[in-house]
Amino acid sequence: MTETLIKTDNPVLKVRDLSISYEAGKFAVKDINADIESKAITAIMGPSGCGKSTLLRAFNRMHELYPDIRTEGTILLDEMDIMKMSTIELRRKVGMVFQRPNPFPTMNIYENVIAGYKLNGIKLKRSERDDIVEKALTEVTLWDEVKDSLFKKGTFLSGGQQQRLCIARALAFNPEVLLLDEPTSALDPISTARIEDLLVNFKKDYTILLVTHNMSQAARISDNSMFMYLGELVEYGKTDTMFTNPKDSRTEGYLTGKFG
């Protein structure tokens, strides 16, 4: 297989020989080795069913929610094996945003942002809560839009606002890594642009992994790109290099629209 490690000084995540299968002998993700650059955006691209979502979910072990899952190999987060960490601790460090905005429908905006603390039984003082909510909503540039309606249900916001609320909910935990699973595929172009701007801004504080179907999005905002095909990591490198001079013919085929 092609050498797929990126040499970075300070990889926050290291994937080693990672294979994930849903049934014996059928791999969704096969023999992946990769280092994820800290404080950068890494895009994961590939056609449908190539395992990119499964790989992304492996980083906070959300893939374990599927029944009969088998995972081999390791992922190291700051040199610690995430398979041995408790999911509570891991998911605090590795936040996740989903394809469709999913604020909790029974909670208002304020409760949605601090939901992570509430649901994990972490007691906070009122002033601490207020600070966390304001900081997280400010980070996603939602604060000015919702500061007068914090106690309204999150589901009454527009789709783009809801998605930013979900990002705020993930940021409220102050994670190291942010996983985004096609976060803009259900949004209009203007909301998409706002979220892309946010992500570029977040680079200074967070390591971002972004699954995207949208090649131009990957080209616009990512530093590094992975191209996956049939569960394998075909090519991994600097986004600029990959888009201008792909090494593998399959990457080239995908990027030029021959399949995918």
Partner: protein
């Protein structure tokens, strides 16, 4: 197909219209036939029952045959009421709900979370069989289990056990259906924050599906409210107001049966039936409005 074929279709349009009208008339006639009995039943119950409904009807216990007979002889309204039945029904329903609702919701969530597993398929078919068990059989079972062995005599608790078994399948099924309607993203969002499983259920799934769950619960309560046969073998009935779940207790349907067997108290059959009907109807309307809220309340 050539354009020339089209007039052949249009030629027959009169015949089609006639068939249409005939069919429409048939549908209307049949729907009237369905509504008619309902209107007749409801109006009969209201006309015969309304005369006995007064304040005492709700706060006094049921009269004995002699009181009723002298009242009829003097052409007065029959004294007393059905307070022992109303409170007994409440007692029995509350105790059976306390047993059936938590168990039913938990089993329903289990079935949803473990789709396609062998044990959950077995559980689901068991639930369906349970739904088909005649209520009188559940009465016999509860008689053997509870009356004979636990309370050592007829009791409200025995009635509650029989009725809670009746409630279970409905709550389980409605819980599973409600869980299917909660978008999977909501569940994932909760898990993605490291939320422990029990908190996902208690803090996310149950509140999110609250209106669906309450609809199922209200419907199951309205179904057991009118149950008579299992109560005859378990709660038995009582002429006094009873709050002790280990003692025989009356219930509105039991009173109706007792009134029916006493020629002097036939009037009370109608008024008790009216009360029961309005009570069940209220619950059904309430659950209907809850499920309507669920359908319109969600954005997108």
């Amino acid at each position: 197909m050539s354009v020339n074929n089209i007039p052949a279709f249009i030629d027959n349009i009169d015949g089609r219209n006639k068939k249409n009208k005939l069919f429409l008339g048939l549908v209307i006639a049949l729907s009237v036939l369905t509504v008619l009995p309902i209107v007749l039943i409801v109006s009969k119950i209201i006309i015969n029952g309304i005369g006995q409904i007064n304040f005492n009807f709700f706060v006094q216990t049921s009269p004995d045959s002699l009181q009723a007979m002298s009242a009829i002889a003097n052409q007065e309204t029959i004294p007393g009421g059905i307070a022992n039945g109303i409170l007994g029904t409440f007692l029995i329903v509350i105790v059976s709900s306390a047993m059936a609702i938590p168990a039913g919701i938990m089993i329903g969530i289990y079935l949803y979370e473990n789709q396609g597993r062998r044990y959950s398929n077995f559980l689901r078919s068991t639930t369906e069989i349970l739904q088909g068990v005649p209520s009188i059989v559940l009465g016999i079972i509860s008689y053997l289990w509870v009356v004979k062995n636990i309370t050592n005599g007829f009791s409200a608790f025995a009635g509650s056990v029989a009725l809670s078994i009746m409630m279970l399948p409905m709550i389980i099924r409605s819980t599973e259906e409600t869980m299917k309607m909660i978008p999977n993203e909501i569940r994932e969002a909760a898990f993605a924050m490291g939320t422990p499983y029990h908190k996902v259920i208690l803090r996310i799934l149950i509140p999110t599906g609250f209106s669906g769950l309450s609809t199922g619960i209200l419907l199951s309560i309205s179904r057991i409210l009118g149950e008579t046969a299992p109560l005859m073998m378990t709660a038995l009935g009582s002429t006094i107001i009873n709050y002790n779940i280990t003692k025989p207790t009356s219930a509105v349907p039991l009173l109706i049966w007792e009134f029916y067997n006493d020629p002097n108290m036939v009037k009370l059959v109608w008024s008790s039936a009216l009360f029961l009907m309005i009570f069940v109807l209220t619950l059904n309307i309430l659950s209907g409005s809850l499920s309507a809220k669920r359908k319109t309340g969600r954005k997108k």
